[in-house]
Each structure stands twice: as structure tokens, then as C-alpha cells.
């Protein structure tokens, strides 16, 4: 599904990713851990197409060179990024934003646009599945949301848009245990043979609830260690320093 080879990324002449290799197959969940400043969020941004980076190396998604296509085309191809800091958009209702987003993605998939009634039904279903209070859906997008609400909203969007490849950028940071469970539940209930995930996190805590197929340690722009879920536990004990 995703094939990254010798990915080099720099911003303002500062090299951030220095030859990263990663291959993710359909149905796999990969966790990327690493200290602050190791390039985790840059990887998430580059995969979703954010501008401002100088990129070289191979970056293929389902056989297509990602470097060639825009942010929204990637989204339409099924790449979803759960933001570390979800943005506030004043004056725009959460459910209207989601409906607009869903319909533009459905259109790209060649599906019919969803009418308001069916959309609200879907929204109700998914939010109750996640145990999310529906009330915040009629509020302005992320405006006045608590940190936990913002992150839950990201996972709800993921459930609604139903992407093939989801990147969770430190979605677990700053969450209490209940919110963490909501997030984990959202991911676990979406997992199947076709869907892949890249979960970026600082802590092993999330991985108690989400079982990764692979864990990678990112340090100074490179993956320095890969393993299965036990690696995460090991890291929690020894810290990142030892891996260098």
C-alpha cells in the first residue's frame, strides 16, 4: 500500500528526514515512536502533502507517486491525517464541514453525494459507536472544544470518511484515559484486511489499547529500530537513548 524508500526531507535547508524507509501493507498497523524533534510529524505532513518541504526519494501510495499529487487528491485517494493540533474554523458547523468533506470524497470515488438525512443518520450511528456526545457536532468546528473533544472529533471524521490509510499524529497526547479508550476503540473497530494505519506516538500507553503489527523507532530522521509490539514496552522501560 505504502512504499517509502530513502525519503529525504528538508525545510528551509534544514534536513529533517534523512533516508527513511518504510513499507506498509494493506491491513497493517504500524506505530512510529521517537523522541521530540525526530521527524515524526514531518513524516505525517509529508505523507498528507503539506507544502513547504523539499522532498526526494520514493514515496508511493497504491502504486502512485505521491509527490505528484495535491493534498486534496491524496485525501480523495483515501489518505487521512488525524491532526496533532486540529484547526479551529470559526463560523463553520462541524457537521456541515464533515458533510462537505464526505461528499467531495464520495464524488471522487464515483459514489453518489449523500443527502442531509442519510448523512445525519450516519453521523448519529458513528458518534454513538464511539460514545461521542452528538451535541458538539452542531457547534463550530473545533471552536471552544476541549483538547479531548478535538481529538475525538478527528477520530469521528476518520470513521465517517472511511479512508484506506489513516495517519494518527500524536492523537493520544494530552488525553485522559476515557478519551484514550474512545480513540483506541475508533481505530480498532475500523481495522480490517484492507485498511492500514500509521500511528505516531510518544508513549507506549496508547499501544496498550491498540495492538500494532510493527513498531518503529524514529530518531534523527531515520528509522533506527523496528520490531513487533514488544519493542514498545521495551522502549517504555529503557527510553529512546539506548536505541541510538
Amino acid at each position: 500500500m505504502l512504499e517509502i524508500k530513502n525519503l529525504q526531507v528538508s525545510i528551509n535547508n534544514k534536513s529533517i528526514l534523512k533516508g527513511l524507509n518504510l513499507s506498509i501493507k494493506p491491513g497493517e498497523l504500524h506505530a512510529i515512536m521517537g523522541p521530540n524533534g525526530s521527524g515524526k510529524s514531518t513524516l505525517a505532513n509529508v505523507l498528507s502533502g503539506k507544502g513547504g518541504y523539499k522532498i526526494s526519494g520514493k514515496l508511493n501510495f497504491e502504486g502512485k507517486d505521491l509527490k505528484e499529487i495535491t493534498i486534496e487528491e491524496r485525501a480523495k485517494k483515501g489518505i487521512f491525517l488525524a491532526f496533532q493540533y486540529p484547526l479551529e474554523i470559526p463560523g463553520v458547523n462541524t457537521n456541515i464541514f464533515l458533510k462537505t468533506s464526505l461528499n467531495s470524497i464520495r464524488k471522487a470515488r464515483g459514489e453518489k453525494e449523500m443527502d442531509t438525512l442519510s448523512f445525519l443518520k450516519l453521523l448519529k450511528e458513528k458518534s454513538s459507536e464511539l460514545g461521542i456526545d452528538e451535541n458538539f457536532l452542531s457547534r463550530q468546528l473545533n471552536v471552544g472544544f476541549s483538547g479531548g473533544e478535538k481529538k475525538k472529533n478527528e477520530i469521528l471524521q476518520m470513521k465517517i470518511l472511511d479512508p484506506n490509510f489513516s495517519i494518527l499524529d500524536e492523537t493520544d497526547s494530552g488525553l485522559d484515559i476515557d478519551a484514550l479508550k474512545v480513540i483506541a476503540n475508533g481505530v480498532n473497530s475500523s481495522r480490517n484486511k484492507k485498511k492500514s494505519f500509521l500511528v505516531i506516538t510518544h508513549y507506549q500507553r496508547l499501544l496498550n489499547y491498540i495492538k500494532p503489527d510493527f513498531v518503529h523507532v524514529l530518531s534523527d530522521g531515520k528509522i533506527v529500530k523496528s520490531g513487533c509490539s514488544e519493542l514498545a514496552e521495551e522502549l517504555e522501560k529503557t527510553g529512546y537513548k539506548k536505541t541510538n
Binding site: 486534496e72 484547526l87 471524521q157 470518511l161
Partner: protein, 478 residues
Amino acid sequence: MTKQNININQDYKYGFITDIENIRAPKGLSEQSIKFISDIKKEPKWMLDWRLKAFERFKNLEEPNWQKPKYPKINYQDLYYYSAPKSLSDKPKSLDEVDPKLIETYNKLGIPLQEQKKLSGVAVDAVFDSISVATTYKDELTKKGIIFCSISEAIQKHSDLVKKYLGSVIPISDHYFATLNSAVFTDGSFVYIPPNVRCPMELSTYFRINASETGQFERTLIIADKGSYVSYLEGCTAPIRNEKQLHVANVELVALDDAEIKYSTVQNWYPGDKDGVGGIYNFVTKRGVCRGRNSKISWTQVETGSAITWKYPSCILQGDNSIGEFYSIAITNNHQKADTGTKMIHLGKNTKSKIISKGISAGKADNTYRGLVDIGRKALNSRNYTQCDSLLMGNKCGAHTIPYIKNKNSSSIAEHEATTSKINEEQLFYCNQRGLNQEESVSLIVNGFCKEVLQQLPMEFAVEAQKLVSISLEGSVG
């Protein structure tokens, strides 16, 4: 509204090649041309005298130049102040002859074909759909005693009302442009709502017979008698023309005891092209007076067009407990300039005013909010709340907020809040990541920014305005 084309700085030689089928006033501003206008409209003598009085005052007035957007000097003697509707044969025969760019815009706005023809000045048959519609409405309005006609018709048929109220809000000698309008106004709307009548529908120029050929110097007068209510919509769209055009209108509103007037404008005059060639100078005076107790006047404007917009729809809160509101969206793109805002003059006790202004600047445009809140000595316990938000797109545009606040008694409170923000790259990234393209994202963010104002518009208008907001900013973020 668009055919009476006044050319500014038009070359003399070409200016004289007049189409014989056109009835035009003598060129330039003179007693003669004013008499010509009054004569051709078969106005009573008092009206002509009124115009001439305005002209006398005009001669002694100086053109103001305190506004932010500057413009080349206008030669007022080089204009035609009246040009009769061209005959049908002069108009484009079908939409094929109209600039395709304009048609594209109409299609984006979802304007029906018949209306497209009307807007772009295509000759249409006398049997025109909306005329029968208008007639039906007219019957219903007449039954309730509502008068809704052109100001020219009102001058002849309802001269007592016109005499009493015309110039009572914007006096003849008010200021340069208002006085010019008083001397040479050609047409406009007249509305009278009798006591305790709630006008059953939104009144708009579109539904008024004769509306298609209103002059560049419009005059509108709306009177809401005691306990009445009216909502009036004004939509302006102009075809693309290369020369600068001058549009000087006066709008007067009078609300008596317990009456309410809601006045909504969607202004989409031609803004000029990408390089600033052409476009309308939109210099308009709009003022309402809450003359009675508990009366209310609410202005809502969505200004997306014109090369220069220069106007301050204002409320004089004379009656005790009266309320004035001003909701505004001003969008400027490319080389457009806007200097707009409001004046809230509190005279009565317990008067309230609210100002919500949203300015959006893109390209090389310049957007100024200028507003006055004046709470008089006797306007005890009055309140004002002002919120001015500016949104910048790109780094070549400008936004300015110039509030004047005068509070002359200690029991009143004026609050002013202002923000300036740039359209946020991160917000755009977020929207893009959710599958929205650049234009959809900008439109979503900007419409969100404007929401408090858009909500004030009547439903159908709001939809059109939202689309206009998006269209006006197309290509502004690259």
C-alpha cells in the same frame, strides 16, 4: 439599471456621436439638464424647484477627499445626467451577444435564464414572466394599503408623502454627493407601509415593474408608519464595461413609533478587471431615522463589487428605545477599494446600536472600516456594541479600522472590539486534507468568517450571497 451608461473622461469627439434613438439630457450639469430631467419625468413644479435648490447648494460645495481610496478627478461637466432607455433594437439580441464571463458568473450564482437576460440588458418581450408575478404581488400589496412603486411614479401619485419625507433624512445640502443626487436623481424605489401593517413579503427591486432601467443616480425612500414592518432587498449587478462608471445613490428610511425596517443589499457592481481597468465608483448615501419610540432600523450589506465602494449606511436613533443595527461584509479583491462602515447617532434615551463588520481583503485590494458612534448628551442609558473583524488573504492587501466613538453622557456604554487575521495556511491544509480543493476551502473559511452577517439576510438572498463571496475570491489564494 445598467444601460444608462455614463462615461467618465470620455473623449469629447466620441462623446458627440450620439445615437439618435437615445434621448439624452444635454451634456454636463446645468439648470438646463436638470429641467430636462424634471420635464421628461413630468414632475410637478415643487419637485423641479427642489432639484434646482439642490443644484444651487451643490455649486458651493467642495468634493470631499478625506476617504482612503483616492480616484482621478471626475469632470462632472463631461457626464450625461439622463439617458433614456435605449430602444430594444440597441440591446444585445440574445445572451450570445453578452460577455461569456458574465454569463459564467450568472450560472455560478444559479440565476434563472430569464433573469440573466434582464440583468445583462438583453431585450426581452413585453410579456415577461416576472411582470405577471409582480402584478400579482402588487394586487396583494395594494389590498393592505402598501405603496410600492418607482419614485417617479410616487412623485406624481403620492406627492403628499414624498413632499413630507423626501430629504427629511438626507437634507438637500447634506454633502457633496448627496446634494448632487438631489439635483439629478433619475429613479429609484418608493415604499410606504401604513400603520400596523406587516408587509407580507420581502420587497425587492426585482419585483417592481419598471425596475430594469433605473438610473445611476437612484433615489429610494422607504417609510414605515407606526407599528409596521418591512423588509426590503436591493440587489445590484452590472455588466462588464471598460470605462469607470459613477453611481451616486441616496437611500432614506423613516421608521415611526414601533415600526421596523430591514434593508438588505447585495452589491455586485462590476469591480474592474484584474489590472484595475474599469469598474464602478459606488458613492452612496444611505441613512435611516428611527423617528418614533421603539422603532428599529437594520442595515445588512454584502459588498463584493465596485472598483471603489464609499458608503456608510447610518441610523439616527431619535425615538426613545429605538434600535439601530449594521451588519456588513465588504470583500475587496484585485485592485478594489472599499471605505465603508456606519454611523450610529444616539439621540433618544435607552437607544441601542449594534455594528458587526467583516472586511475581507485579497489581491492588491484595500479595505477600510470607518464608523462613528455618537451618543448624545440626552441619550441616557444607551448602548453600543461594535465588532470589526478583518481577514487578509495574501500579503499585498490592506485592512484598516477607523472607529470614532463619542459618548457624551455617563450612563451610556460603547464597546468596540476589533480583530485582524490572515487566512491561515494551517486551516487551508486542514480543509485540503479533508478532500476540499483550494477554492472550496477558502469559500468555507470565508463564509464561516462572515456567518454572523450572512445569517441576517433573508434565506434566498443568503444563498446567493454565499456564492458571491466564493466567486469574488476565486483565485485569490494560489
